[in-house]
């Protein structure tokens, strides 16, 4: 699958976020190497990649913090290099680190960010009330943020991005460092924004991208190596399904017999995995039982994004 084609905007019109051949190096280290992106209005687009794959540098260029060495990028048609102020007016960013003023309370943090975006005071007040309520911070909104838990700080950080009611929201690893329960809660908040706000989300949690994103681009070593919906990405690998055979007694001859029919059979701990959507479960049993193999379980499962990454890069995903 072509990264450019996979990330291409559909339905015509100006994409909310667009990058063409975007590149950036730090000395001899190439952080981003020719990234093409086109994100539709109202879409939740996930940029997925392991640490160091170039996600944060890509985001830095899209939100006008880092100067691209090559290529171009625009936010709702505003070039990030030549029209940065207009581009900044329509975006809001939630950085990877919790970026809040700890000596201010939640109200004051929201007033600060709303004010910097030029939102009138009465609108800031109204939106703050709603956001603090929705994000479960209303009860402690008068306390200084330094007293908040990690999850509360993260929620406040997101509220600070939403107080300007941005057209484009950029979330850089929004759930990094959160416990599983807080992460789930954050997913719900992000999902609730889908459709009305264009969201670019970077994450190195595979399940996060799978659960939230309309489309996903996988980054590795500064390049987008695949893009599409989660289903498209999985289907691109052997039809998107794998048959897991868990059995005792699979030896060389049993594997050879299987591979004669299903060449993609791969030995794994406790059995064999067979990629492909044309595996006949009865035929597998007929092939193995005469060879003394005791089958404990056999069944099909969907390929995961983990498998997609492994297939595309030859590298195991490490979170």
């Amino acid at each position: 699958m072509s990264a450019t084609g996979g990330a291409a905007v559909g339905g015509g019109g100006v994409p909310a976020l667009e990058a063409t051949a975007l590149a950036r190096s730090y000395g001899d280290v190439v952080a981003v190497d020719g990234v093409d992106l086109a994100i539709r209005e109202g879409e939740l687009f996930a940029l997925l990649g392991p640490n160091g794959s170039g996600k944060t540098t890509t985001i830095g260029m899209l939100c006008c913090l880092l100067r691209p060495d090559r290529g171009s990028a625009s936010v709702r048609g505003h070039d990030v290099r030549t029209d940065a102020r207009a581009a900044k007016a329509v975006i809001s960013v939630v950085p990877q680190e919790t970026a809040i003023a700890e000596h201010l309370n939640a109200w004051e943090n929201l007033r600060l960010m709303g004010g910097l975006h030029g939102v009138p005071s009465d609108e800031i007040r109204t939106r703050s009330e709603q956001l603090l309520d929705v994000l479960g911070l209303a009860g402690r909104a008068d306390e200084r943020a330094k007293k908040y838990s990690g999850g509360m700080k993260r929620r406040l950080s997101i509220a600070m991005a939403l107080v300007s009611d941005p057209e484009v929201l950029i979330l850089d690893e929004p759930t990094l460092g959160l416990d599983p329960q807080a992460r789930r809660g954050m997913w719900e908040h992000i999902a609730s924004l889908k459709g009305r706000t264009t969201i670019l989300l970077t994450t190195h949690y595979l399940e996060e991208a799978d659960a939230l994103a309309d489309r996903i681009a996988i980054m590795d070593a500064g390049r987008i190596i695949a893009a599409g919906t989660a289903s498209e990405l999985k289907d691109s690998i052997a039809g998107g399904r794998v048959t897991e055979v868990r059995a005792v007694g699979i030896d060389g001859s049993a594997l050879e017999a299987l591979r004669a029919v299903y060449p993609q059979a791969t030995p794994v701990e406790g059995g064999v995995d067979i990629a492909g959507d044309d595996v006949d479960l009865y035929r597998v049993q007929d092939l193995l039982r005469p060879l003394g193999v005791t089958i404990e379980s056999i069944g099909g499962t969907q390929i995961s994004l983990d498998d997609v990454f492994l297939t595309l890069t030859g590298k195991q995903w490490r979170e």
Binding site: L66, T98, L104
Partner: protein
């Protein structure tokens, strides 16, 4: 409005750190009282340099050095955290940022100056010339020091800011804050006159002790204005470079 939001936030930071704020007010006062006491002990004939009239403007500059340090630390700390980057992604200009970080320190500088001069009067401070002119010169110097703070905060790490503070403090002392520059003479005096500190002190002391007017201090004032404008412009330029790296 954007400058106002930023200034309000930074003023709150300042007010919610009462220890730093208190030290910024108390330390210069303590320094003035100690030096006046030493001068009284030695006697004015032996140490004409240690009178309230001569010392007060110098100690005012010392107070501004502390504000420079405090403003530099505030900006540098924000650079260390992700908050400044986040604020930079909003449609706010470099000059708005510099103004927003600087403005909260100006009332503190004014308060320091007023307190020092009020205390000075209790110890024989002479004010022959225009108080307004003295405040103009010192006000410009306060802006200059805070602009230096912005330059250091934009370019240096929190640890490096301490080094810069020491360097500026030394330049201020050797600019004649509480030593007799003319007694040092030669190269010391020549080098000191390349910086605005000596000029600001010469101007304020001339107004206070001899009633000098604008025309008489014009040359010194030009140095102070030149340095202040250059520092403010440099702070905005450097911050603009920081906004996109």
């Amino acid at each position: 409005m954007r400058t106002g939001q930023l200034a309000r936030r930074n003023l709150k930071s300042l007010l919610r750190d009462p220890l730093s704020l208190g030290l910024a007010l108390v330390l210069p006062v303590g320094m003035l009282l100690i030096l006046i006491a030493v001068g009284n002990a030695v006697g004015e004939t032996e140490a004409p340099w240690m009178t309230a009239t001569v010392l007060t403007p110098g100690i005012a500059l010392f107070g501004y050095v502390m504000l420079m340090f405090s403003s530099a630390m505030a900006l540098s700390r924000d650079r260390d955290s992700a908050l400044l980057d986040r604020m930079i992604t909003t449609p706010v200009s470099a000059s708005d940022f510099i103004a927003g970080y600087s403005l909260p320190y100006l009332p503190v500088a004014l308060a320091q100056t007023v307190v020092l001069f009020v205390i000075g009067t209790f110890f024989g401070l002479v004010m022959v010339g225009s108080v307004g002119l003295v405040l103009v010169v010192l006000g410009l110097m306060a802006v200059f020091y805070i602009a230096l703070g912005m330059i250091f905060g934009t370019t240096l790490t929190v640890n490096q800011v301490s080094g810069a503070y020491s360097a500026v403090l030394l330049l201020t002392i050797f600019g004649g804050a509480w030593i007799d520059l003319s007694a040092l003479g030669g190269a010391f005096e020549a080098v000191a006159n390349l910086f605005p500190f000596a000029h600001a002190l010469d101007a304020t002391r001339a107004v206070m002790a001899h009633g000098a007017g604008l025309g008489e201090i014009a040359s010194d004032l030009a140095w102070v204005i030149g340095y202040t404008l250059a520092a403010a412009a440099a702070a905005v330029w450097l911050f603009r470079r920081q906004m996109i790296r």
